[in-house]
Amino acid sequence: MQPLLEQACWDTLYMVGWSTVIAVVGGLPLGVLLVLTDRAGLLQNVLANKVIGQIVNVARSMPFIILMVALMSFTRWVTGTTIGREAAIVPLAIGAIPFFARLVETAVREVDGGLVEAVQAMGGNTWTVVRKVLVPESLPSLIASTTTTIVALIGYSAMAGTVGAGGLGDIAIRYGFQRFESELMWITVAILAVVISLIQAAGDFAARSLHHRGGRAGPAPKLRLLKAATATSKTV
């Protein structure tokens, strides 16, 4: 039982880890672009904004299990197979990119427009604004968004079991539900709960330590971030 769970843990971390990396790499520029191309944005382009927004909405509205099936031929083209851990990463990542992009958009929109203006007044171009203002200033929120994305991906990864990718969720379904080994199911649930709590705590800690806003007000930033994280996950 133990090696089974151990393997499942690694499978989950492997899938979630890689898909998070891809989601961040893909979702960050997409989210920033959503802000920049919006009305009164630095790269205002209403058409591009609408197109990107629609793609993100469609991808977001699709249930993960459907997305996984719909993407099968693409997955085969990328990884050469449609089963196993690697094959699960493709739909997980593609499902998470628009999810993360929306969170990035919300976080970047929070950055004070005055800071953008200040950098423009110094002679900075759009790229400078993104690099020196939008991303660093929203970093605590971006970290919180990443935490939310990881937690959501752990949830999705349970469904990856249907393509033989393994992982904790898969164990819970196959052993716990289908074979009535309820003890094993509760153990996986407990492990998932612990893993998610640890990730959330680590994310909160990272976000808080990057927050230089509350010099005097100690606990305030934490509360703010938690609120922001729950608020965004609700709208997801």
Binding site: L42, L43, Q44, D112, G114, L115, E117, A118, V119, Q120, A121, M122, G123, G124, N125, T126, T128, K132, V133, P136, E137, L139, L210, H212, R213, G214, G215, R216
Partner: protein, 345 residues
């Protein structure tokens, strides 16, 4: 140093047009502190944003240090390389400081230098020098959130100076500060203006700001400049709204058949015993309704509101006498046309 001519800015939104600037001609001389004052909505903010083209003017030109910025702007909404280069030589401070909360004070001051591509060593040398200049050498490693409003604005000023600008634009820099801090920030701007020969264009809605540091001032109303000139010129202009706001004297006429006259003394005239001379020469009783002496734009100025018996028509000669003494005379309740005729007497 800064010249705008025919500067016009029209905002269009949902078919409606709002004219924020309506043909503004502004001329700021090198090395002076120039204040533009007006109520909110008068177009001050649009004006200062048009000077470094953060806002594109709809029409008109902006020239800073001999360079026509409107010609550099290009056509697209984004600023080209030339314009960005020009902007880096114009410092700007903001009402809400606009410091990056993710960077230390020193890193905030280094930001414009990073954009200019200055090397790391040179950046930190310069940033520390500027922080010393604004009196915050010990706060280099602090974060903006740990500073008071006045300290934040000092950082903002240090940052604005990092690119060695000849011109500093101040967008309501003291409006978010308490009176005490306002004074110290204005003093700093004045010192920088003197020490570095910095030309300062500031916009404000506080008359005190103009009074304490400006060499010249302009009054804006509904997108137009309605009065402008050096503080001395403004005080010498009869009926000037700016002059009376800069230097108010109170007092109402005690009866209908009296003439109320505002007398402004500056320079040598301030030492002459004109009022007693007037009284003796024309044998009239003069009541003083109000008087004040103050320093405006570095000039010692006195202002007195006096009341003469009889209507304006009866007092043309005594008023002419006062004018001959080199005093600025403003007869209350007279039409501007009459005043101008009077000025030629």
């Amino acid at each position: 140093m800064i010249t705008t001519s025919g500067l016009t800015k029209v905002y269009r939104s949902r078919g409606r047009e709002v004219t924020a600037l309506d043909g503004v001609d502004l001329h700021v001389r090198e090395g002076e502190v120039y204040g533009v004052i007006g109520q909110s909505g008068a177009g001050k903010s649009s004006l200062i944003r048009c000077v470094n083209l953060l806002e594109r003017p709809t029409a008109g030109t902006v020239t800073v240090a001999g360079q026509d910025l409107t010609a550099l702007a290009g056509r697209g909404p984004r600023a080209g390389k030339e314009l960005r280069r020009a902007r880096s030589r114009i410092g700007m401070v903001f009402q809400h400081f606009n410091l990056l909360s993710s960077r230390t004070v020193q890193d905030n001051v280094e930001l414009p230098l990073e954009i200019l591509g200055t090397s790391g060593k040179e950046r930190s040398r310069k940033a520390l020098g500027l922080l010393d200049l604004v009196g915050l050498a010990d706060k280099a490693k602090s974060y903006p959130a740990q500073l008071s409003g006045g300290q934040k604005q000092r950082v903002g000023i240090a940052r604005a100076l990092a690119g060695d600008p000849k011109v500093l634009l101040s967008d309501e820099a003291t409006s978010a500060l308490d009176p005490e801090t306002t004074r110290s920030i204005l003093q700093l701007l004045r010192d920088l203006n003197r020490q570095l020969g910095l030309t300062v264009l500031l916009i404000t809605h506080e008359m005190d700001v103009v009074k304490s540091i400006c060499d010249s001032a302009a009054l804006m109303e509904r997108g137009r400049i309605v009065e402008s000139g050096t503080v001395g010129e403004l005080l010498a202009t009869p009926g000037s709204q700016l002059a009376s706001a800069l230097f108010p004297v109170g007092g109402e006429a005690s009866a209908d058949d009296r003439t109320v006259v505002d007398v402004t003394f500056h320079g040598e005239a301030a030492t002459q015993p004109v009022i007693s001379q007037l009284s003796r020469t024309y044998n009239i009783d003069i009541s003083i309704l109000g008087a004040a002496i103050d320093t405006v734009g570095g000039l010692q100025v006195g202002r007195m509101r006096i009341e003469l018996p009889g209507r304006y028509e009866d007092n043309v000669v005594p008023i002419g006498f006062l004018r001959e003494q080199g005093l600025e005379i403003d007869v209350l309740g007279q039409e501007p046309v009459l005043l101008k005729e009077g000025a030629r007497l």
